[in-house]
């Protein structure tokens, strides 16, 4: 008996570590993977062996080997360097194109839910209008109007994405504004701004962050799809969608041009999904 207690005591920290690992495998793997991707994209300038835009016409379509780990493309550009530099751009677009809709949607949804009445009706009918369009159709439509490019893509993805956040936040605000602590704040004569920012928003924000974590995967996929179609980031900038688009003509002779940037997208998508699910689980346990 004493022995067993001593054993379990000495095993304490290890078994606790094992339990944390079993419970949060996805979160840990996702965070590590994303950490590695983020770091290597941030330090792409130091890590990458070549200039991502430098043509080398004597070394076109080289298969992967030591000097070019991911091979070279039809202009002799180093694909490994291009994939690393593209990671920075794609992750930034993914982050910003979730941040802007999140801010816009949260603000409008909170106003609609809090004030109700005519304000609510107007905002929610606009939300209905926006969510009636299929996501990609609207994005492509807006880019067609504004002309292709990075700025149009930011605008298009923000306009196409905010309505979901507005809906989510409004529904949560409708519940929280009936909570007794919000009534208490009103009974004390607090100003709308304080009730909104201190009492309502902090208590409705969690589900929107969980949603944003899954949304970011979709947004990065949309970004690469748009660039693949020539509507987003423009060549010669290094971007995964562009690289796949440029490589599709060589898919039978130089498989690495399409496959390796594609794998990068898969890896980022996987890391973000694991991280998103892990954080969602963590926040649910807290709540």
């Amino acid at each position: 008996m004493t022995e067993a207690v001593a054993l379990s005591l000495s095993n304490g920290p290890d078994s606790r570590k094992a339990a944390v690992w079993r419970k949060h495998t996805g979160l840990i793997v996702g965070a590590t993977l994303l950490g590695v991707i983020l770091l290597s994209s941030l330090f792409a300038g130091f890590i990458s062996p070549h200039d991502p835009l430098q043509h080398d016409l004597r070394n076109t379509l080289q298969p992967p080997r030591w000097a070019h780990p991911f091979g070279t493309d039809n202009f002799g550009r180093d694909i490994f360097s291009r994939v690393l530099h593209a990671a920075k751009l794609d992750l930034m677009i993914g982050f910003l194109c979730v941040l802007f809709p999140w801010m816009l949607g949260t603000a409008l949804g909170a106003i609609a839910g809090y004030f109700g009445g005519a304000v609510d009706t107007v905002i929610m009918r606009v939300v209905d209008t926006f969510s009636a369009f299929p996501f990609l159709v609207m994005v492509i439509g807006i880019i067609a109007i504004l002309g292709p490019g990075l700025m149009s893509m930011y605008i298009a993805l923000t306009l196409a994405g905010w309505s979901m956040y507005a809906r989510l936040v409004r529904a949560e605000v409708l519940v929280v504004k009936k909570a007794e602590y919000v009534l208490a704040a009103r009974a004390l004569g607090y100003l709308h701004g304080r009730i909104m920012f201190r009492h309502i928003l902090p208590n409705v924000i969690t589900p929107t962050i969980i949603f944003a974590m899954t949304d970011i995967v979709l947004v990065i996929l949309s970004t690469t799809s748009l660039s693949f179609l020539g509507l987003g980031v423009q060549p010669p900038m290094a971007e995964w969608g562009i690289m796949i688009s440029e490589g599709k003509g060589f898919i039978l002779t130089a498989w690495w041009m399409v496959t390796l940037p594609g794998l990068a997208i898969v890896l980022v998508g996987l890391a973000l999904s694991l991280l998103g699910d892990g954080i969602a689980k963590l926040l649910r346990e807290r709540a």
Binding site: E180, Y181, A187, L188, G189, H199
Partner: protein, 321 residues
């Protein structure tokens, strides 16, 4: 003694909307023609079953719900017509203590902020002595000053309710609505909180509207009691009179349901049949007639008015001579 708070013909209907045009198709008549007064320094109980409209009365008095019609006069000011900005300043004179201590504190605010912001909002005290005031308030409700930098989830239900009480008293109100302040607490804690309210009533010179569905609790703390049923007042009486000589058949039924811990006592229970009717379509005439053991045909025809039957004793029943 003059009334500090005078409520006259208060009505609160919640519209039910329907159809494609979202028109008002019906109303939930939560509060109907309610009139009463609360004198300065008095604790008035407001009792009734769930759905009788007592919480709605409390919230309408503080304009947490806007009344459909009627007037509420507080210390000479008609507060239902007060412009929003004036009302916001007026709010420090009237406060509310909520039923559920788990829902009434913002989970993301420290106790220091919960109480402290009430002081800054109404510019009570200087920034330096606000800290002292928070400490003093916490001590007055029986909590340690060490609790100031903790979050609500670190407290028990009884402690949270004490924090809720401290928050309401922070602005030094003249009038407090206590909306079933103990019904969500353990029985062992209920007595402590009731006694605390009784003590604070003297210290803060409070006038209180004490909403409850438990007559035993009300008997202990209230001077007068208002009995509500389905949005209307049935009887108003001094606490002693109500318990010794209830007049209205509904009050009699309510009192017969109070358990009395005395072995061998003969039970003369008036058991009400059926459920409380829907407030969407309340019965004509007297709303209680569908469950009243003494109902006669006339009860369906006239809405009984409150008649004085003794000193400070009013009852709304046509059978009362």
């Amino acid at each position: 003694m003059t009334a500090l708070l005078q409520v006259k013909d208060l009505k609160k209907y919640f519209p039910i909307r329907g159809g494609i045009l979202n028109r008002v198709v019906n109303n939930v008549q939560a509060v109907n023609d309610v009139s009463f007064g609360v004198r300065e320094g008095e604790v008035v109980g407001l009792v009734g079953e769930s759905g009788s409209g007592k919480t709605t009365v409390g919230r309408t008095l503080l304009r947490l719900e806007e009344a459909t019609s009627g007037t509420v006069t507080f210390d000479g000011t008609d507060i239902l017509t007060l412009p929003k900005e004036d009302m916001r300043k007026f709010r420090k004179r009237m406060q509310i203590i909520f039923q559920d201590p788990y829902a009434s504190l913002n989970p993301r605010e420290k106790i220091r902020t919960v109480i402290g912001h009430a002081l800054t909002q109404h510019q009570i005290g200087t920034p330096e002595d606000r800290e002292d005031r928070i400490v003093r308030l916490l001590e007055q409700v029986g909590l340690s000053a060490d609790y100031m930098d903790r979050f609500p989830h670190e407290f028990s239900g009884g402690q949270r309710q004490r924090i809720g009480i401290a928050r309401a008293l922070a602005v030094d109100p003249d009038f407090v609505v206590a909306d079933e302040p103990v019904s969500a607490l353990d029985v062992s804690i209920q007595a402590q909180v009731i006694n605390l309210l009784d003590d604070l009533r003297g210290q803060f010179n409070l006038t209180m509207l004490f909403i409850a569905h438990d007559l035993a609790v009300v008997e202990h703390i209230c001077d007068r009691v208002i009995v509500m049923y389905l949005g209307r007042i049935m009887e108003i009486a001094p606490a002693g009179t109500l318990y010794s000589a209830p007049n209205h058949p509904y009050t009699q039924a309510l009192l017969s349901a109070v358990p009395i811990p005395k072995p061998g006592r003969k039970l003369a229970r008036v058991v009400l049949k059926g459920d409380i009717p829907s407030p969407i379509n309340p019965p004509s005439g007297c709303v209680f007639r569908t469950r009243c053991p003494l109902a006669v045909a006339d009860c369906a025809a006239v809405v009984p008015v409150l008649k004085q039957i003794g000193s400070d004793h009013f009852s709304a029943c046509i059978l009362t001579a």
